[in-house]
């Protein structure tokens, strides 16, 4: 039984605008950590909110743990968010400003557990996210990262079957983001819960998720393991989600492939072998790597970006060849 | 904690809102327009004498008529009292007033001061007169209301807004005497003669005459009496600066209006209510009005107060007041036409 099953879900906010979600069908297995990726307005937040019960689908059905939660157009079949037993971490935390850390975490527990037990549970959850010692702090007294972790603790406290995270790392600086990302992955792996993370940051998706769903204009355009979506994007849109990608026309049958800049290899003119003839347009040093912009001769409409470790003394105007390493086999980054 | 708060709040509300319903003593309820402190003393005297408590609702006359109409048979009111014959007539026409069971009750009141069908009776009346600055105006220059339209009064007349019912009832007598067209011309001319656009109360008109903003004011007599006995010294001085002229004394007489009272038709305590009316018309109460509110007592043969004697001899316009009430809307329409705000 899949943890989540969407069939033909459509959500349209107003008649004049295109739908936020259009006929989306998807299954998510137990224990999977899925990242939803897409540009803003692609429907990823709506996806999450429909799962959480904060939006109702216009058409299609949502099932969680095998139970039907909402059927488009049938109001009585709708299960309100409070009955869905899931945890949601909001973009800005959405912490209750009038409650301290303990009370924030206890919010969802008071109704289901007796006092002694919820107190223990709160302590447990705060420890889990590393906030022990900050029990009596109010949200505005915490730092950005602490607030996000508090939000996570609050969502985890009632032991939900399913955890949804909406851009949990936005508004954080890179270092904090990296640390929190690691923390969250550890926590999620530790408790073995199904989780869905909405993010626009490719690193979040690649580092935390076991599977990535790419959405565009309300539709799922690619689904696969992080390395699969990274190295074998289905189209330009998917490719661009994870940084620069170069369009390469392969072989005689003119199939289009996408190559990442770090897959490039420079072959000087004098060395014989495979590769595409190119001329160098620009060279810039970026830390240990060199960013080289080249013009492939066979594709006058495209420019390729290559990250090269030791390009020698390449200068603009120089001619040579670029070869692409064969794409590594799709690896499930974490089983 | 929250629950107990809500319960106690609810209980409090219930107690609070229901409290006026629970009253035991024998009582009558009076809807009145009159705002005079003296009336309360009269009510107290009545309670002392008969043991009947008078409950009072004070509001505008027309609002009270509307309220009586909406409350219908369940109204707590037994009596309706206003300071204008027009509203009494309107109340009668709206069907909220009954008739006095005993015509003897109002025997002492002259016919023109009470309703022909016995729906209401005056308890006092007041004259709407001209008050002039005695240092600038000679009484010989004054004659009638109609003469106020004369050009010689350009920018010298002070009179209040036509929204006021006293002016409206004065207008009805003008219509009665001169016809609608004549009344319209009169209103236009008087409006032109005003020393300033109509504003303030009758008292303010008298004060302004004293200050010299205008030379004559049209006001009710008792206001002068109230100013003469005011708590404020400037008011007493203002009162000393003007004298009363009774217009149309040579003709139909000065315009008078009444404070009157009627019994509410659906009242269940008509007997008690009529007892109160009788009390109001009794010599002991009637004799107190001239001294306290400076109104003329409705019952003839009652001694007037010092001030009233000093103002001069009043000859009242005898046109039945109940007929005037019917012309009220017309009066307002003419005021509108004349541009008298």
């Amino acid at each position: 039984m899949p943890a989540i099953e969407l069939s033909g879900v459509t959500r349209q906010f107003s008649r004049t605008r295109r739908p936020a979600l259009l006929d989306v069908s998807s299954k998510i297995a137990q224990g999977e950590i899925v990242a939803l990726v897409g540009e803003s307005g692609s429907g990823k937040t709506t996806f999450l909110r429909i799962l959480a019960g904060l939006e109702e689908p216009d058409r299609g059905e949502v099932r969680i743990q095998g139970k039907s939660m909402a059927i488009g157009g049938r109001r009585h079949a709708f299960v309100p968010p409070e009955k869905r037993k899931l945890g949601l971490v909001f973009q800005d935390g959405a912490l209750f400003p009038h409650l301290n850390a303990t009370k924030n975490v206890a919010y969802g527990l008071k109704r289901i557990l007796p006092k002694q037990e919820w107190k223990e549970r709160v302590t447990e959850c705060l420890c889990l996210v590393g906030l022990d010692g900050k029990e009596s702090c109010y949200p505005h007294e915490l730092s950005g990262g602490e607030r996000q972790r508090l939000a996570l603790a609050r969502a985890l406290a009632p032991a939900p079957d399913l955890l949804l995270l909406d851009e949990p790392f936005s508004h954080l600086d890179p270092a904090l983001r990296r640390r929190l990302r690691a923390d969250i992955r550890q926590i999620l792996e530790g408790i073995g819960k199904t989780a869905i993370i909405v993010t626009h940051d490719p690193e979040d998706a690649l580092a935390v998720a076991s599977r990535v769903l790419i959405l565009n204009q309300g539709q799922v355009v690619q689904s696969g393991s992080p390395s699969e979506v990274y190295y074998r994007p289905a189209n330009q849109y998917c490719a661009e989600r994870f940084g620069p990608a170069n369009r390469v026309i392969i072989g005689t049958d003119q199939t289009v492939g996408w190559k990442r800049p770090e897959e490039a290899r420079w072959i000087p003119c004098e060395v014989a072998g495979e590769g595409y003839n190119v001329s160098v347009l620009d060279v810039r040093q970026m830390g240990p790597l060199f960013e080289v912009l080249v013009q492939p001769e066979a594709q006058p409409d495209d420019q390729w970006l290559c990250f090269l470790k030791e390009p020698g003394n390449l200068t603009a105007g120089e001619k040579g060849r670029v070869a692409w390493r064969s794409t590594p086999d799709p690896v499930v980054w974490r089983s | 904690m929250r629950k107990s708060f809500v319960t106690s709040l609810g209980a409090l509300c219930l107690l609070f809102f229901c409290s006026p319903v629970l009253q035991a003593q024998e009582s009558i309820t009076l809807y009145t327009q009159r705002h005079y402190g003296f009336d309360e003393k009269v009510h107290a005297q009545f309670e002392e004498k008969t043991g009947i408590k008078v409950n009072v609702v004070k509001a505008g006359a027309d609002e009270l008529i509307a309220r009586l109409g909406e409350e219908g048979e369940r109204t707590p009111a037994d009596l309706f009292m206003t300071a204008d014959a027009g509203t009494l007539t309107r109340a009668k026409e709206a069907g909220v007033l009954g008739t006095f069971s005993n015509p003897e009750l109002t025997a002492g009141v002259p016919d023109f001061l009470k309703d022909a069908d016995g729906a209401w009776t005056a308890m006092t009346y007041r004259a709407r007169v001209i008050m002039y600055a005695h240092d600038r105006v000679k009484p010989e220059e004054l004659s009638t209301y109609e003469a106020l339209a004369d050009d010689k009064w350009r920018a010298r007349v002070l009179i209040r807004s036509s929204s006021n019912v006293y002016n409206q009832s004065l207008m009805t007598t003008i219509i009665e005497a001169n016809g609608a067209d004549g009344a319209l011309e009169w209103a236009k001319a008087v409006r032109k003669n005003m020393a300033r656009p109509p504003q303030g109360s009758d008292r303010d008109q008298i004060r302004s005459v004293a200050k010299g903003l205008g030379d004559i004011a049209v006001a009710n007599t008792y206001y002068l009496g109230l100013l003469e006995t005011s708590e404020e010294e400037t008011d007493r001085k203002a009162a000393a600066a003007v004298k009363v002229f009774f217009p149309n004394n040579a003709g139909r007489g000065s315009h008078v209006n009444v404070s009157g009272v009627g019994v509410v038709g659906v009242s269940k305590k008509k007997e008690l209510a009529e007892k109160f009316v009788a009390f109001l018309l009794s010599p002991e109460v009637q004799a107190q009005f001239p001294e306290n509110t400076f109104e003329y007592p409705a019952v003839e043969s009652i001694e007037l107060s010092e001030q009233q004697k000093r103002w001069g001899e009043l000859k009242a316009d005898q046109v039945p007041l109940s007929t005037l009430g019917k012309r009220n809307a017309e009066a307002v329409r003419l005021f509108n036409e004349a541009g008298w705000e």
Binding site: H98, G108, R111 | F17, V21, V56, S161, R196, L213, N336
Partner: protein, 520 residues
């Protein structure tokens, strides 16, 4: 709705009204409304700006004291300021004798209209002040600092950035002022300026034409609705609210001494006009009265208790209902609920008397229907309370709605996802977070009810007096000195209430957001 139905019935006097007085009424209304709004903005906006942006001596108490004029009913300020026309009498007589009668009429008109506008603006400006102060406090430093960096002076920043950003607040506050002015009956009556509201009274009661009167009320409502639409249209798509960091209290700038003085004087002007002058005047009358009559003659003990009790209970109940109502509307953005919301707010645009008669009709019908099993409700306090509810519902509903809009949806959603039903979410999240707004709404309601006159006069049960009705009947008798005492008591009670509210709210501000002290 009943009023709307009347609009389409044949009306006997309507053509007569249109031909004669409608233009005057409308013109007077427009002039007075315009003048009062402009004056209130002049009084309110600079002081709100200074109080929220600069640190100067007296800022703390000024920031709440500037709200105090709200405690003074318009009819009281009306008769206090009308006395001012008497001061001008000598000047007018001089003009009349020396310049000519036309000049005299013009001068008289100018002085009267001017004083009327001042009398109204002086006690109504706090509506604009409150809205602007909140807006200025929320604007955040960003745009203003950006403008300063772009080379604008303090003054020019105010006009080019802060003021435009505060426009929704200006509009909201201004709209309240407009409605108060349109509904005012006391002050315009004293000054002899017939507005549409006076026209309604006159047509209804003196001409006996209910339908035309209600049509006039309809005209008033259309004017207000028109103003609302124009505002929304002008606002267009521009957004004025910075959503992020809305809670941060901006640091207030310190000023040099002489500038402090200047700012202080600016802020004192509205306070003096709106509060000190009326209160001192009333106090002197009250002293005169007490000298002659002594303390024994105070008959308002009971009125004080009953009126205040009614105001407290009604304010609390109505505010609670309003909070609940707003939440319900927010929960489900259905069309009919939004319409219900609009209709409920209409009560504020209707003159009190119209509301009163409508409420009487409703309860009359209800009583007739429930004769068998329920006691009569007409003429009880319940009827009054209901009328207050209809009349003033807009106040708590506006305040609480803006509070809820600012709160943002995620908090509620978080609560729902954490397993709380909507009702519990409301009690555990919305209510505690909005307690400032709820308290403020209840307080404003309380003050308004305490001052309220026409409804109370018409609907009250027998022997029921409030301070306002006593003050009114004494003023009607012309006993200004005696009337000063209950008026002062109204002002004192509502003043204390308002001051308390202001202090408490600023305390809340300090708790929820760290206050950065000004380092002078």
């Amino acid at each position: 709705m009943a009023v709307l139905a009347y609009l389409f019935q044949p009306a006997a006097e309507w053509t007569h009204l249109v031909r004669t007085v409608l233009a005057t009424y409308t013109w007077n209304t427009v002039i007075v409304v315009f003048g009062v709004v402009v004056l209130s903005m002049l009084l309110a906006v600079p002081s709100a700006w200074f109080v929220s942006r600069y640190e100067f001596w007296g800022r703390d108490w000024l920031s709440w004291a500037l709200v105090l004029p709200l405690a003074i009913p318009t009819y009281v300020s009306g008769f206090v300021f009308y006395r001012g026309t008497e001061a001008a009498t000598d000047f007018l007589i001089w003009v009349k004798l020396n310049v000519g009668i036309d000049a005299y009429f013009a001068a008289e008109l100018g002085i009267r209209y001017g004083l009327l506008m001042i009398a109204l603006a002086a006690v109504l400006y706090p509506y604009v002040y409150l809205a602007c102060r909140a807006s200025f406090a929320q604007q955040g430093k960003g745009p203003i600092e950006a403008a300063r960096c772009l080379g604008r002076s303090r003054k020019s920043v105010f006009f080019s950035v802060a003021l435009p950003m505060a426009r929704p607040a200006l509009a909201a506050g201004g709209l309240l002022v407009v409605m108060e002015v349109i509904n005012d009956y006391g002050a315009v009556n004293i000054f002899g300026v017939p507005t549409l509201t006076e026209g309604i009274f006159r047509t209804w009661f003196n001409m006996g034409d209910k339908v035309s009167a209600l049509r006039l009320a309809g005209v008033v409502m259309f004017v207000v609705a028109g103003l609302l639409l124009i505002e929304q249209f002008l606002r267009g798509r521009a957004r004025y609210v910075e959503t992020e960091g809305a809670l941060a209290v901006p640091q207030r700038e310190c000023l040099e001494r002489w500038r402090q003085l200047r700012v202080l004087l600016w802020c004192l002007v509205p306070l003096v006009i709106g509060f000190c002058i009326p209160v001192i005047r009333l106090a002197s009358w009250a002293v005169m009265y007490l000298k002659e009559n002594g303390w024994g003659s105070l008959p308002f003990g009971e009125a004080f208790l009953r009126g205040t009790g009614l105001a407290v209970v009604t304010a609390i109940v109505v505010t609670l209902i309003a909070t609940f109502f707003i939440y319900a509307v927010r929960l489900k953005r259905c069309h009919y609920r939004r319409c219900a919301n609009r209709v409920a707010n209409l009560g504020y645009t209707m003159p009190g008397t119209v509301v009163a008669v409508g409420v009487m009709a409703v309860f009359g019908a209800f009583d007739r229907a429930s004769e068998a099993f329920l006691p009569v409700i007409s003429g009880t306090l319940l009827a009054i309370a209901f009328a207050y509810f209809v009349r003033f519902f807009a106040i708590p509903s506006q305040l609480i709605r803006s509070g809820m809009d600012r709160m943002g949806k995620p908090l509620e959603e978080a609560s729902r996802v954490l397993g709380e039903r909507p009702l519990n979410t409301f009690l555990r999240v919305n209510v505690p977070l909005l307690r400032g707004a709820i308290f403020a709404a209840a307080m404003l309601m309380f003050v308004d009810i305490l001052k309220e006159l026409p409804l109370t006069l018409i609907l009250r049960p027998a022997n029921f007096e409030t301070l306002a009705t006593i003050a009114f009947s004494l003023a009607k008798e012309g006993r200004l000195q005696a009337c000063a005492l209950p008026s002062l008591m109204i002002i004192a009670i509502s003043g204390i209430g308002l001051a308390f509210m202001q202090r408490w709210m600023s305390h809340l501000d300090r708790v929820t957001s760290r206050k950065e002290d000004c380092e002078c």
